[in-house]
């Protein structure tokens, strides 16, 4: 609707003269003194906390600045990002597969998917990580051949096949797939039954309907919790320190065990995790907007739109239905 009514601010912004109607209400805005008082109290609190941290003799500040861009720390950051990205991507594919299996009419697939989710969601992630790391204790050799015969195609030492990094990746991915499967399933259940009927009525097969009609609509519901899961995953990579994968937290503990600056390195690591999780929320906005197309009324504003709205001190308006661009 290009002719959507402009608000007063919109008109002013468009440089049009405001017509003054004698019936217009020109009211004194309600004052909110308590907001200011609370804000001042909090500000005093945070400033004094900052000062106490700054003056704390137990914190060696140069250590923080020295290590924040340390090459070992940076390599840990890179590995953390790599682990998060790979584990999320692979687990999402697995999750969709499991969700489809769970919702299928095939009782074998259905039970298999249920068992998977039951097992991987029902045991702690930390234990799964240690389990994959110590797989060599359970099966020292992994071989492929014909069951119940002596014929083997190949046989390989478990610790060679699955080094710590692979074990960690495996643990994170398989565990996440169980959670993602439930998120995808809830998204698929949110799609109206009429959509399936309409797709079938034009001769689409169940598989085509799934990819062309159901999943694109389910994505709108799936993405917000998946953003959440991605942030969890980023932080959960630190658990891989128990099997000595050289990600951010492991590297930091190795350094602090040498220089005994535990608190400083924990602060370094926390800064990095905070930075990475903040960056992660940006792509989520754009994905939400992309899959929200056709429902433009509920599109969330992009971070830049939020920022500029704050700077211009205008309320964030819901988008007009004609703004389909994903910019």
């Amino acid at each position: 609707m290009p002719q959507a009514t402009l608000t007063g601010q919109g008109r002013a912004a468009a440089g049009l003269a405001l017509e003054i109607d004698p019936d217009d209400i020109v009211a004194v805005p309600l004052r909110h003194p308590w907001r200011w008082i609370l804000a001042v109290f909090l500000l005093i609190g945070f400033v004094s906390l900052g000062i106490s941290l700054w003056q704390n003799e137990n914190i060696n500040h140069p250590t923080i600045t020295e290590f924040i861009f340390n090459p070992r720390i940076l390599s840990g950051v890179l590995l953390t990002i790599m682990l998060t990205v790979v584990a999320m991507l692979v687990s999402s594919v697995l999750g969709v597969l499991l969700a489809v299996m769970r919702l299928s009419n095939n009782p074998v697939m259905n039970t298999l998917a249920w068992l998977y989710v039951w097992a991987f969601r029902g045991t702690p992630l930390l234990i799964q990580i240690v389990f994959w790391g110590y797989l060599g204790l359970l099966y020292s050799q992994i071989s492929m051949g014909i069951p119940f015969t002596d014929f083997t195609i190949f046989s390989i030492d478990t610790n060679t096949l699955i080094p710590a990094l692979t074990a960690g990746l495996l643990a994170l991915t398989l565990n996440q797939a169980a959670y993602s499967a439930e998120i995808v399933r809830s998204g698929m259940l949110s799609v109206d039954e009429g959509q399936y009927e309409a797709a079938y009525s034009v001769g689409m097969s169940p598989v085509f309907t799934l990819f062309k009609v159901v999943l694109p609509q389910a994505m709108r519901v799936i993405i917000p919790p998946m953003g959440n899961e991605t942030i969890s995953m980023l932080k959960n990579t630190s658990l891989l320190s128990v099997i000595a994968v050289l990600e951010l937290y492991t590297v930091a503990t190795q350094i602090s065990s040498q220089n005994l600056r535990q608190v400083e390195l924990l602060l370094v690591v926390s800064c990095w995790y905070l930075f990475l999780t903040s960056v992660l929320s940006i792509p989520q906005y754009y994905l939400e907007r992309f899959y929200g197309r056709g429902k433009a009324r509920s599109l969330p504003p992009t971070p830049f739109e939020r920022l500029s709205a704050v700077l211009r001190r205008t309320p964030i308006n819901t988008h007009r239905t004609d703004s389909q661009d994903v910019s």
Partner: protein, 283 residues
């Protein structure tokens, strides 16, 4: 037969007959019914909904199903394209059994892909439109021709625009369903069904979810289709449409066909007291 539907220009132009089951066309040649339903039965959890419905629709014929809610008309319509499976009887479209395959004297369930192939020839328009909300009007129309029939994108697009023009919405090709009024959405839905070139078009109360002033546009499109010779089965409460466009009106109640025949006979001179009571309440 043409005398039975006065005031309709299309009735005279059609080579059809109102007689259910096999009939004669104007040249006196026997025509096979396009849709042939014989003693169709269906129940939901022990409650019978259809108790032996028989209906034959000849090519080019428009059949309107009337009846109170709960009479089974929508269920019967959904059985025709196998959105619901039937418990007894037979439904065949174009001489082919729907949803089942008969080899010798045994009936086999069809796999989903075979059912999908059959449904390509049977279009359906729903009460709640059921457009795909994440696709534009044009994409709604071209999705199945491109993805299912493997028609080239350009060809499908040209045909889609032509169909949109035919339902009077050429300018709204790039709009999403949420930006269209109910009447516009329903016309897009009709174009979507037409894009697969179906031999039979099913309408499930196509105007029941529309504001009164939007009903006319949709009915106009349906009248044009009828005049062009499309075979249609329409579940509706629009008595005026049934009177003007239908070749056969079927009145259903309690899962059975109470009365059927040319509109003038069923609507103006109903034989059954149940039909009369229903018509009195809606007209």
């Amino acid at each position: 037969m043409t005398g039975a539907t006065p005031g309709t220009s299309n009735a005279t132009s059609r080579a059809t007959t109102a007689t259910p089951a096999t009939g004669l066309d104007v040249r006196g040649v026997t025509v096979e019914p396009l849709l042939n339903a014989v003693k169709v039965r269906k129940s939901y959890g022990g409650t019978p909904v259809l108790k032996g419905i028989s209906l034959a629709v000849n090519p080019g014929q428009v059949t309107c199903l009337l009846g109170p809610s709960g009479s089974g008309k929508s269920t019967f319509l959904r059985c025709i394209n196998h959105l619901e499976r039937i418990d007894g009887g037979r439904i065949s479209v174009g001489g082919e059994l729907v949803g089942y395959a008969q080899r010798k004297d045994r009936i086999f369930e069809m796999n989903p892909r075979e059912v999908a192939r059959q449904r390509r020839g049977i279009g359906m328009v729903f009460q709640r439109f059921n457009l795909f909300p994440h696709m534009t009007a044009l994409e709604n129309i071209t999705a199945a021709p491109i993805g299912v029939r493997r028609i080239s994108k350009q060809k499908a697009k040209d045909r889609g625009l032509e169909l949109l023009d035919r339902v009077g919405l050429a300018s709204l090709a790039q709009s999403y369903p949420a930006q269209l009024s109910g009447g516009q959405q329903q016309r897009v839905a009709i174009a979507r069904a037409l894009a697969m070139d179906p031999q039979l078009l099913l309408f499930d109360e196509p105007t029941s979810a529309l504001d009164p002033e939007l009903v006319g546009d949709v009915l106009d499109v349906m009248r044009t289709l009828a005049a062009d010779g499309m075979t249609m089965v329409v579940v509706t409460h629009e008595i005026g449409f049934a009177r003007g466009a239908a070749d056969v009106v079927v009145f259903m109640d309690g899962g059975v066909v109470v009365e059927s025949g040319p509109p003038a006979a069923v609507l103006d001179d109903p034989q059954s007291p149940r039909t009369r009571a229903f018509l009195d309440s809606v007209m």
